[in-house]
């Protein structure tokens, strides 16, 4: 295809000017982040378009570092006057402690970092017609509506195209365009007073060609299947049990139990139970885990991070041993660990922080059936909801959407309403079996720098013991 040169979001002369002005209070480092984002959101309820919206996010953020101290300011008055005003405000935020700039008056000579995109969208959402997007939604709706006891179907479609420019006082100049699309189906099955919901919502860092590989029909059918499977389920048991966790979105357990506490954002605040464990065994030897920004077209893909660094693949745990944290610029300054291209933020209203990209447990040698076969009495958590963690203590929780009892190494009756809770530092050691069916699932991860697209992932895993929050 032909590539047309899109003009930069901002003139280099103006960027240099703004960075210089912002640094005039004696900052060690200044960074400008400019963003122009277009998004679309549609909701189909019972096959009819109910909410149609979207718009244009447009703004700039300026970050100054004084040692490890951060001053951040943003505005959506992205005009020369607005940006100079912002730069002046940032410089003045350090008033009283400010020094006179020792830098010369010359402009910055930006090193153009031509971020080579890891993936280029083929059916770009900004060039696709609304009717084509609605057609995808209708296909998903038809695959879920009326299946078994499914009475209510909602389909949400989202796309987001984020153009960014990152320039800093070290002369870095990076531009990137990020494209995301996602289709989510919720189905509610109902039979008298029994009701249960199913949800499936894959997405990608791709254009609409994504739906050629993961079809809207498959998405709708999966949501309907889950709602139906859980409809007449009894309650999950309560207490400590062995648990087999399904692949794909099952990886949310690693994300919550371990991922967040390996971000320097937690480590630098002395709020990570793993902060001093580099090089030590923190998990069972069957566990290797990776955080990867370089998977082409992945939901968590990072061609260039929000600090202007190319995305990387970071081995977090190798055979149970902690090998790396996820590190951003401030994290590097505070902890001394090298940056890993993990600086991410929701948009210009957030300063970047170390965040996950596509985070997963690597495949192991066994089959899922072999893992289930090892459990005399326990829970098979096939599909997960979301979760959360308290970094300071490592205590986490996550919700199970679809589960079955395991009796004598065989799958038995469906059970509903379980959540799993535990302590990351303890439970990582209890992952005793890893299967060979690694797959990724997509979610939005909320933390200090906002809500960002991340993949979670894993093969089926066996945890020897975990607290199941059921009520039977």
């Amino acid at each position: 295809m032909t590539m047309t040169q899109t003009p930069s979001l901002l003139d280099p002369g103006l960027c240099a000017d703004v960075l210089h002005l912002a640094g005039s209070g004696g900052a060690d480092f200044a960074e400008l982040f400019v963003e122009d984002t277009h998004n679309t959101g549609y909701r189909l309820h019972q096959g009819e378009v109910r909410d149609a919206g979207g718009g244009n996010l447009f703004g700039a953020g300026l970050r100054l570092l004084y040692g490890t101290r951060v001053v951040y300011a943003y505005t959506n008055d992205v005009t020369p006057t607005g940006l100079r005003q912002l730069a002046g405000d940032v410089a003045r935020a350090r008033a009283g402690q400010g020094e006179v700039s020792r830098q010369g008056a010359g402009g910055l000579d930006f090193r153009r970092h031509d971020a080579r995109p890891l993936y280029v969208a083929q059916q770009h959402p900004l060039h696709a017609r609304a009717q084509d997007k609605l057609a995808l939604m209708r296909r998903a709706h038809h695959a879920a509506a009326g299946v078994g006891d499914v009475k209510t179907v909602d389909v949400n479609y989202l796309d987001r195209v984020q153009r960014v420019l990152i320039a800093n006082s070290e002369g870095l100049w990076a531009e990137d365009e990020r494209v995301w699309t996602r289709l989510m189906v919720s189905a509610i099955a109902q039979d008298g007073t029994w009701r249960e919901s199913g949800f499936y919502g894959p997405g990608a860092g791709q254009g609409l060609e994504f739906y050629d590989t993961v079809t809207p029909e498959a998405i709708g059918a999966e949501a309907a299947r889950m709602a139906g499977a859980m409809l007449r389920a009894g309650h999950a048991p309560a207490g400590k049990l062995p648990v087999v966790i399904g692949n794909e979105f099952g990886g949310v357990i690693f994300h919550e139990a371990c991922g967040h506490i390996l971000e320097t954002t937690a480590v630098e605040k002395n709020a990570s139970v793993f902060g001093d464990k580099l090089g030590q065994a923190i998990a069972h030897p069957c566990v290797s885990a990776t955080d990867d920004g370089t998977l082409p077209g992945a939901w968590g893909m990072v061609s260039v991070d929000d600090e202007g660094l190319p995305g990387q693949r970071t081995a977090l745990i190798e055979k149970g041993v902690l090998t790396s944290f996820m590190v951003d610029r401030v994290g590097e300054l505070k902890t001394g660990h090298r940056r890993t291209g993990s600086g991410r933020r929701q948009n210009y209203t957030f300063a970047p922080a170390s965040r996950m990209r596509s985070t997963f447990i690597e495949a192991g040698p066994q089959t899922p059936e072999e893992l289930i076969g090892q459990v005399e009495y326990g829970l098979y958590a096939r599909r997960m909801g979301g979760g959360s963690v308290t970094p300071g203590t490592g205590e986490y929780n996550f919700a199970v959407r679809e589960a079955y009892l395991i009796r004598g190494g065989e799958l038995a009756e469906p059970v509903k309403g379980a959540s799993l809770v535990g302590n990351g530092a303890q439970d990582l050691r209890n992952i005793v079996g890893v299967a060979n069916d690694l797959a990724l699932g997509q979610g939005m991860c909320g933390s200090v720098s906002g809500s960002i697209p991340t993949d979670v992932g894993q093969p089926h895993i066996l945890i020897s013991e975990i607290t199941v929050g059921g009520r039977a």
Binding site: R50, A52, F58, R69, G385, S388, N397, A399
Partner: protein, 457 residues
């Protein structure tokens, strides 16, 4: 006349007028929701200000009504060409959408007079604000040597201007001030790490008391040290006001008229029926002067007024905006809600609270052997307003004959929200507010499923 290269940014009021004028010229029914927010956020770590964040952000959200169907759009670019593009986008989106019976724009009557701004922040210096953050850390650290750090703390303020208008002639303005502090100190004893938190919300800077917030937060963290495994089984549970407020926040969507009409609320069809114990009266009041979610009018400009959702356990009302109300054959309750200018208009609560009862607070726990529940988390996934079911990570204490015996290691509580409301046996006298703007007194519940360390026999 303005050209395509006109990038002059309009003010909020001028943007509103421009859009409504253009809409009238084109014969489009339009609602404009314009917001500007100026905010400060300060964090301190290690005796220094570690983060200082300043922001100004503004934008307009548009909602066009074409042929009985709504279409939405927003823009942060307030130049005339960008506003015109947003208007065109809203109209296009309306043309894609299905008509909704009852859809209408209304020029509502006058809203109540409500001061949400206080003295403002004009006399407050950045140094004073930074001092609040520094004090939070110092006070928590100095309180007890077992407080090893305060990983999460901060001072935040924001001044918001909101304008709503529509082509029926509605024109509304409101300004509000938020100022708050929070602290989550990490308490350590040997290998055991515990983190509790506390916070304060106010509309007057001078009312902030960071020392008290820090001390309460440190006390909460320290109290969690020495935790033992929770038992597994069904036990009587006393839920603190703050925790009950969290649960109310999670299940508030059950009362949404929109969720009801779309078949997503277990309360559908139960108006006039008992759905909770006779001790349960639930009120939503946007007009509380100190409420976190207070507002004189809703996202459609409809005046706010208190609404009783449940009285003596009986379901009396749902939240409605103009559209869901029309379809339910009633008037709007003033609960149109939107996530700032970016969102679409839906239905949502304001300050939702469980009315205090008549049991003295210290008597709510009297004689109870069971769990004192102080906090739940994981609600975004572990609580379903569609079924009412929940299974949540919990924090709390073991009560032995009404006395706090010891804190509990991480455990879960599970149940169904309507069963919980039906099982309330005692309601305390003091209303406490949670940090999402819901409130409750301490309550006692007959039994909830608890899952802890000990396997079930």
């Amino acid at each position: 006349m303005t050209g395509a290269l006109d990038t002059t940014q309009l003010g909020l009021d001028a943007a509103r007028r421009h859009l409504l004028d253009r809409a009238r010229e084109q014969g489009v029914a339009l609602e404009v929701y314009a917001q500007r927010e100026a905010a400060t956020a300060i964090e301190a770590h290690g005796g220094e200000v570690s983060e200082f964040k300043l922001s100004t952000r503004q934008g307009v959200g548009l909602r066009a009504l074409v042929g009985g169907a709504w279409g939405a759009a927003f823009t942060e670019n307030l130049s005339r060409p960008a506003l015109d593009r947003a208007l065109a986008r809203a109209v296009e989106n309306a043309q894609l959408s299905a008509p909704e019976p009852g859809a209408a724009l209304i020029a509502w009557g006058e809203p109540p007079s409500l001061d949400l701004y206080g003295e403002g922040l004009s006399g407050v210096t950045p140094e004073q604000k930074a001092q609040v953050a520094l004090t939070l850390e110092q006070a928590a650290r100095a309180h007890d040597p077992r407080v090893v750090s305060v990983p999460y703390l901060g001072y935040e303020d924001s001044q918001t201007e909101l304008l709503v208008g529509n082509t029926e002639g509605l024109s509304r303005e409101q300004r509000a001030l938020h100022a708050m502090t929070y602290a989550a100190p990490l308490a350590r004893d040997g290998e055991e790490n515990r983190m509790g938190s506390d916070w304060q919300f106010t509309r007057e800077f001078t009312a902030l008391d960071p020392t008290q917030t820090a001390l309460r937060a440190a006390e909460k963290s320290l109290a969690l040290l020495g935790a033992r495994p929770a038992p597994t089984g069904t036990f009587p549970v006393v839920i603190t006001g703050e925790c009950m407020a969290q649960l109310l926040g999670l299940f508030a969507p059950m009362f949404s008229g929109r969720m009801v009409e779309e078949g997503k609320s277990p309360l559908a069809g139960q108006l006039g029926q008992p759905v909770g114990s006779a001790l349960v009266t639930l009120v939503d009041d946007a007009t509380l002067p100190r409420g976190m979610s207070s507002r004189a009018f809703d996202a459609e400009g409809c005046p706010s007024a208190p609404l009783t959702l449940m009285a003596g356990g009986e379901l009396r009302a749902f939240f409605h905006n103009a559209q869901t109300a029309a379809r339910a054959g009633q008037a709007s309750t003033g609960h149109a809600a939107r996530q700032g200018y970016q969102g679409v208009v839906g239905v949502g609560r304001s300050n939702l609270f469980l009315q205090p009862g008549h049991t003295p607070d210290d008597e709510v726990t009297s004689g109870v052997t069971g769990v004192l529940l102080t906090s739940v988390s994981g609600g975004h996934a572990g609580a379903s307003p569609v079924t009412g079911d929940f299974s949540l990570q919990a924090e709390g204490f073991w009560l032995q004959d009404g006395v706090r015996a010891h804190p509990l290691e991480v455990f879960t509580v599970a149940g169904t929200f309507t069963d919980l409301l039906a099982q309330i046996e005692a309601v305390g006298e003091t209303l406490q507010w949670g940090w999402s703007g819901t409130g409750a007194p301490t309550v006692r519940v007959k039994g909830l499923a608890v899952a802890g360390g000990a396997p079930k026999a």
